[in-house]
């Protein structure tokens, strides 16, 4: 048995617009380890959501996967037929989205929507489906499960709706749960609750791929982290290593920006310049125009992921192993 639930190798996903090809996901390779929470962090538009959608086979027109391999539990899932993908989705592979309100069908009772997942993949009776829905509602911390099942989405609060989404995703006991910004739309106290629920699910044996722009969320729950910038992974490491010893200038800048908020400094750290246009990526390292260490080499050629001291720590920077002065 492989110890990676998900392996992505050299994934490229692009949008083909009239202005040209927008390379949303650019040569991404990542692993999600069994029963761990793996995080992808990055600013909006860095391609983290598209990576997730590529795995699910939910990339919308005019986008499509150009190349790359995706293996779920050792089994190749790129190139599966639509029907085979359908039998995977919701069953072995499931996903929750950012907006818990618009992600639920407004004219269907939430209990029905959760049961639906079960009934697509398993032959169960109505009673059995209802019983198991009630059970999973309890598991994800929805009190008063039976009456909540008869509610329509708009009657529930944001936190409850996200719990319903999780119940829907978890009812078939999938191997991998992809959570795309699951707490961004929620309040602080509710966010903490949902995150602790995700931790509990992980302890129960589910592998989770958590996508967030919030370094706080990542630091609190992830075991291993990938940092994305302009469609590429720029650094990967286990969470503590990444937060303690970031090497890529972008990671450093991002962490610096987040931590300067609580350092009490009068001026907050920022990153000069703006995020590059995915349509016209700079040649070479995409962070080079904003990087103070930028050398000629950085502008000419895209650096490879280089190993850094420390196990499982890689960074896409020519200076990854140059010690700080």
């Amino acid at each position: 048995m492989a110890d990676n639930t998900l392996e992505i190798r050299n994934l490229n996903t692009s949008f083909f617009t009239q202005h040209g090809e927008v390379r949303a996901v650019n040569d991404v390779s990542l692993d999600v380890r069994r029963a761990q929470i793996t995080g992808i962090v990055g600013e909006s538009g860095c391609g983290k959501s598209m990576t997730a959608r590529s795995v699910m086979g939910l990339v919308r027109y005019p986008g499509r996967i150009v190349s790359g391999r995706i293996r779920l539990d050792g089994k190749e899932i790129t190139g599966l037929s639509k029907k085979e993908m359908c039998s995977l989705r919701g069953n072995e592979l499931s996903m929750i989205f950012q907006e818990p309100m618009s992600s639920l069908n407004p004219v269907m009772k939430v209990g029905k929507q959760v049961e639906e997942t079960l009934r697509i993949h398993q032959h169960v009776t109505k009673e059995e489906a209802a019983r198991r829905t009630e059970e999973i509602f309890r598991e994800v911390g929805i009190s008063d499960a039976r009456s909540r099942m008869a509610c329509y989405p708009h009657q529930l609060s944001g936190g409850l709706r996200q719990r319903v989404m999780i119940a829907m995703a978890m009812i078939c006991k999938p191997k991998l749960l992809i959570a795309d910004e699951p707490t961004t739309a929620l309040d602080v106290t509710v966010e903490a609750q949902i995150l602790s629920l995700m931790k509990r699910l992980c302890e129960g044996g589910t592998s989770i791929l958590l996508i967030s722009h919030n370094l706080g969320v990542i630091a609190q729950v992830c075991d291993y982290v990938y940092v994305m910038y302009a469609g590429r992974i720029v650094e990967q490491a286990d969470t503590c290593t990444l937060f303690d010893h970031p090497v890529h200038p972008y990671t450093r800048a991002l962490l610096g920006a987040a931590s300067s908020l609580r350092s009490g400094a009068a001026r907050l750290e920022t990153i000069p310049g703006g995020v590059p246009n995915l349509l016209h990526l700079p040649s070479g390292c995409s962070f080079s125009p904003r990087c103070e260490k930028c050398a000629r080499q950085c502008q000419n050629e895209v650096p490879q992921m280089l190993p850094v001291s420390g196990e499982g720590h890689l960074a896409r920077c020519y200076f990854a192993n140059v010690p700080e002065e």
Binding site: H19, N277, L279
Partner: protein, 311 residues
């Protein structure tokens, strides 16, 4: 409560505004979208709309140049040549009074274009004004305007047009008035609904914080942002007005002979449908072509003005 069609239009533009502001892929690409680039995009993506625009231009030209294009008069009878089939002298044949059908078609284009455009402009001006006022000021004024709109919309539009025509009597001006009176209400309701939505937006709130007065607000923020809706409504209402006019004339309630109106021509040709089908067919097709052209152009414009449909 809005009718379905109205609700659709309003919702779609609300959505498109959100999408536009969410600045998805397009703002990332960061290309400026002006009126001209929009039109160019439409020209590139929607050949049918361009073709329709050309057809409409041709109809306009034909209407203006009618006296130059044809040697015949639209009203002079020639009883020797009644119901003659299409020939080189009379390309589309002649009618029951021996008048050249092509000539009457060209002059009829004047009536159709005018009845398409003039009452539509009238109803849009009236509707937009009442709708904005209703949405901005609210209160009893809103109630009054909206109840009037409800009452107007309570009649089947054809029947209402018939009764108003009956009341006003025949004539081109009365046709204009009738069509304007029939159509203002739905424009008013759509504009009102959009005004209410715009009122809730942050940029209107921002203008209030600055201290912009309500009157200025209408012209600076509300109407310019209603413009795409109004343009689309215009292209939808023009063909509808052409159809209503031709239907009224068809029933003998619009213009009276010997005026050349396409609807009237279809009607008078009805008795000869089996002996001389070209009498009705030619004006019927003319109505269809012009209405289709406006509808296609409207569709094209809507697609272009509506970022929601953009890829």
């Amino acid at each position: 409560m809005l009718s379905n069609r109205e609700r659709k239009i309003v919702e779609r533009f609300e959505k498109s505004r959100k999408i536009q502001s969410a600045g998805s892929l397009r703002s990332q690409i960061g290309e400026e979208e002006t009126f001209f680039t929009m039109m160019r995009r439409m020209a590139r993506e929607n050949k049918l709309a361009v073709f329709s625009a050309i057809v409409i231009l041709l109809i306009i030209l034909a209407a203006i140049l009618a006296p130059v294009l044809t040697p015949y008069s639209y009203s002079d009878m020639d009883l020797m040549n009644r119901l003659s089939p299409p020939s080189s002298a009379h390309l589309f044949g002649t009618d029951e009074a021996g008048r050249d059908i092509l000539t009457r078609l060209l002059y009829g284009a004047r009536v159709s274009l005018l009845t398409g455009v003039v009452p539509t402009i009238m109803s849009m001006l009236l509707g937009a004004l009442l709708g904005v006022v209703s949405g901005i000021y609210g209160g009893w004024l809103d109630d009054l305007i909206m109840r009037l709109a409800d009452i107007t919309l309570a009649f089947p539009s054809m029947l209402l047009a018939m009764v108003i025509m009956y009341m006003l009597g025949d004539g081109l001006i009365n046709v204009f008035l009738t069509l304007a009176l029939v159509n203002w209400a739905s424009v008013a309701r759509i504009v009102r609904a959009q005004t209410l939505q715009l009122k809730k937006t942050e940029f209107v709130e921002a203008a209030r914080v600055i201290g912009v007065r309500r009157g200025k607000m209408i012209f600076r923020h509300i109407l310019p942002n209603c413009l795409p809706t109004l343009i689309v409504l215009f292209t939808l209402n023009v063909p509808a007005a052409i159809l209503t006019e031709s239907s009224l004339s068809f029933l003998g309630l619009g213009l009276q002979p010997p005026s050349a109106s396409w609807g009237l021509m279809v009607n008078s040709g009805r008795q000869y449908l089996y002996a001389a089908p070209w009498l009705s067919l030619a004006p019927g097709i003319a109505i269809m072509v012009s209405v289709l052209a406006f509808n296609f152009l409207g569709d094209g414009l809507r697609d272009v003005l509506d970022p929601y449909q953009k890829k």
